[in-house]
Subunit: 157 residues, 2 copies
Amino acid sequence: MESIKWTVATGLALVLSTGYTLSAFAQAKPETLVEQRQSAMTLQGKYLYSILPMATGKIPYDANIVARNVGYLAVLTQMPWDGFDPRTQGVKPTRALPEIYKDPATFKAKQDALHAEIAKLQSAVKSGNEANIKAAINDTNKACNSCHDTFRAKQQG
Amino acid sequence: MESIKWTVATGLALVLSTGYTLSAFAQAKPETLVEQRQSAMTLQGKYLYSILPMATGKIPYDANIVARNVGYLAVLTQMPWDGFDPRTQGVKPTRALPEIYKDPATFKAKQDALHAEIAKLQSAVKSGNEANIKAAINDTNKACNSCHDTFRAKQQG
């Protein structure tokens, strides 16, 4: 208790003595969080949907583009999750369903499943086996869809 | 000329024989390019502006967050540029100025300058020298602003 008091007092003193505003410590606005998470989703789409047709044989396979995009996706798939803050509910129409906040354990499990598929995809790219890479691209897409099926509205609100 | 004809004919044959639609080969729509490049800018903002106050001393320095964000920024700063396609001019109001397409060499030089600052920032993070890291974060921000000053409208259109 003593240490908590000390921390709060010190924090306040720090804020007051250096002219810090409280907003410097405050969380991002809900609107900003929505824009940021949607941006991460948009870029995941950019780099997944340009290699998915390679995995399904719809366009010619390009190993360089696949390797680049998989590297990008490994980073981008870290980014959306902190944007799903309960404070973002209702701030503007999005396809994010309330189930995200009612069942955070399942939402987290879907994220973990995506990360596992991305790790598999990165291993496949490292090995250079085209069949394995294509299978892992398809499995990554399935992990995206599995979460969307549960936690994203079918039509744009 | 012969080889060009062959390529076009082969491409068409490929398209027709396998049921591919031409859209599979087509470029992204201008609206999509704008959305994707704006998404990359939004995420660059997310991960730069959360560590910039650490560099300027406005909030406490957190080495783990800095290292993570710099890794993200190294990837994100690769992403916006292919979205600045001349076809995107006028498709919707954005702050991108026509100078981008009138003076592509300078636009490219500004990108290269940013990439050089990011490389310097990554080196600083690897070395772990906090003063160097803070200086490099500030220089990265200056590289962003230098491009914005020339190629981005002052107010949202």
